[in-house]
């Protein structure tokens, strides 16, 4: 098992009364698996993903449970060692392509950053790796994109750049926190197809966070349904969509507008 999470609980103490955001969450992620976490806003799905990525906000909080990766508990790992994994073994792509890139830094510089931090390469090797990945994410005219600034690219192209920047160091786990929510439908399906291709080619396991059930159905092998910080149900995606056991899962599935063209 690549990643093992046991009884993860996160409680914020910055407001007057403690706020439990994630409660007793346990699941595992296998090599090459695409695991979906679905839930509405405030369900704790993003917080769980951020915990795995070691990006929990610096607010006063209490964390308990284990996030085991290569026999190391990421929750208690010292910052220095955690930084060794971030961007090397575990990479992240975020929801807002418009703001997730540094507006005053060239695209090439941002994509190569993970290599700069984790690999000893010459400039030429680094540039070659970056160009390789800019082509892999199907960006036409990758030379121009390398020299361009974020504001010169469309939302879809920026998300492809984010994927390239995350995959350039061949991580074992890619965390995708609502990667397509801010994109148009047509661009969304291209990004989903791209993620599937990368998963197949490089065997990277993907933790896919979303509130869009039809997307989860399209892309994930297994799914975890979360509500108010707790896991309501988890298992094989098709199985859950066909025979949801929990009341909340049923309600979620029934609220997807069904398009029945047979009648």
């Amino acid at each position: 098992m690549l990643l093992e999470i046991k009884n993860l609980t996160i409680e914020f103490h910055d407001h007057d009364r403690p706020e439990r955001v994630v409660e007793d969450v346990s699941f595992s992620l296998d090599k090459g698996e695409i695991l979906g976490i679905v839930g509405e806003s405030g369900s704790g799905k993003s917080m769980t993903a951020l915990a795995v990525a070691g990006l929990l906000p610096r607010k006063k909080m209490e964390k308990s449970g284990e996030i085991l990766f290569e026999e190391k508990n990421l929750l208690t790992l010292p910052r220095h060692d955690l930084r060794g994994l971030q961007g090397d073994e575990i990479s992240v792509i975020f929801q807002e392509p418009m703001t997730a890139l540094n507006p005053t830094m060239k695209i090439g510089k941002q994509v190569e950053e993970a290599l700069l931090l984790h690999r000893h390469m010459t400039d030429e090797e680094r540039k070659a790796k970056v160009m390789e990945w800019l082509e892999k994410v199907e960006l036409d005219d990758s030379e121009r994109v390398y020299e361009a600034y974020p504001h010169e690219l469309s939302g879809g192209m920026r998300q492809r750049v984010m994927i390239a920047a995350a995959m350039v160091s061949d991580p074992q786990i890619l965390i995708a926190d609502e990667p397509t929510t801010a994109l148009d439908v047509t661009v969304q399906s291209q990004i989903i197809k791209l993620l599937l291709k990368i998963n197949k080619d490089s065997g990277v396991s993907i933790l896919f966070i979303s509130h869009d059930l039809s997307l989860i159905k399209q892309i994930t092998h297994n799914v975890i349904v979360m509500q108010k910080g707790r896991i309501v149900e988890q298992g094989d995606t098709d199985e859950i969509f066909l025979h949801p056991k929990e009341e909340y899962t049923k309600k979620l599935i029934s609220s997807i507008p069904s398009v029945d063209l047979r009648k």
Binding site: R83, S91, N102, P103, T104, E113, A114, H151, A165
Partner: protein, 302 residues
């Protein structure tokens, strides 16, 4: 830029057009006969339409001929010619001081964000911002001049005699002008850094394994400088105004003094010329700041 220059010169000319009183009379004195006044007006070309006189005046200014002073019967240029470099040098020194001091101090504060140093820095910033530059000048004179004898108050050295002495003496007034602007810059840079820190690209930088310092220097600092540079553009005008006042404290014969004397004895050509020159200096300095701005922020179309 040229449009603003043009607009400014028009505003200045128009302002001095609406002055009550006729330049010819003030030149000849009150007992002059109407015929003499009419003749002088004709000779000075005051009867030509406003627009013609404006372009004529503008043409002269570009050639450096700002007309003649009323009270000293010397050309304006001869009076203010050697004064301009003093004010400009002082403003440049203060600008350099602001840049040289505010960035390292802000970085220091950013490193200890939220600690006691940060709190102390914040309070002292507030106080320093509240001190008017001329009072600061008086304090500096009192502390460094009179008690510690670092420099002799009032001992202005002209750049013709001894350039080093000239710069040395200008240090104190420049510091007086620069300190409030430094405090403001530090405050602005600090809040800009705080604002950038919550942006998404910082989280992306952390997700790639950058340490806090790496995130600060590789990503946040460059973006936080943008609002600061905008502030420096506007601060230039305030600094020149500051220099006019501070000149009195350190009795430096810069543009400020001439401006005041010519205001009190209503010597309008001199006042007009000085105001125009100051506006030109401000605009030129703003242009420099604007160029600095463009090379940091690629989003501004070249």
């Amino acid at each position: 830029m040229l449009l603003t220059l043009f607009g400014v010169s028009f505003l200045v000319f128009a302002a001095f057009e609406i002055i009550p009183g006729d330049p010819a009379i003030s030149k000849l004195g009150t007992d002059a006969t109407p015929e003499m006044i009419a003749a002088l007006r004709e000779q000075m070309g005051l009867n030509r339409p406003f627009i013609v006189r404006y372009f004529d005046w503008l043409g002269d200014c570009i050639r450096g001929d700002f007309g003649r002073s009323y009270s000293y019967n010397r050309t304006v240029i001869s009076m203010i010619g050697d004064k301009l470099p003093i004010t400009v040098t002082m403003t440049i020194i203060s600008m350099l001081l602001v840049i040289a001091v505010s960035i390292p101090v802000a970085l220091l504060l950013a490193k200890y964000m939220g600690s006691t140093i940060d709190r102390a820095g914040y309070i002292s910033n507030q106080i320093l911002m509240a001190v008017p530059s001329f009072f600061l000048g008086i304090l500096i004179t009192y502390i460094f001049g009179l008690t510690l004898r670092f420099f002799t108050p009032g001992g202005y050295i002209s750049y013709r005699q001894n350039f080093a002495g000239f710069i040395g003496y200008l240090l104190a007034p420049s510091v007086a002008i620069a300190i409030p602007k430094c405090a403001m810059s530090v405050k602005l840079l600090r809040s800009a850094i705080l604002e950038e820190w919550n942006k998404d690209y910082v989280r992306t930088a952390y997700s790639r394994g950058n340490s806090t310092m790496q995130v600060m220097y590789r990503h946040v600092l460059k973006n936080a400088l943008i609002p600061l540079i905008t502030f420096w553009g506007m601060a230039v005008a305030d600094m020149i105004a500051g220099s006019i006042v501070v000149e009195q404290v350190f009795n430096i014969p810069g543009l400020g003094r001439i401006l005041l004397t010519s205001i009190s004895n209503r010597d309008y050509p001199v006042v007009e010329a000085i105001i125009l020159l100051i506006a030109v200096v401000v605009i030129v300095m703003n242009l420099i700041v604007d160029i600095l701005y463009r090379c940091i922020d690629p989003r501004i179309s070249k």
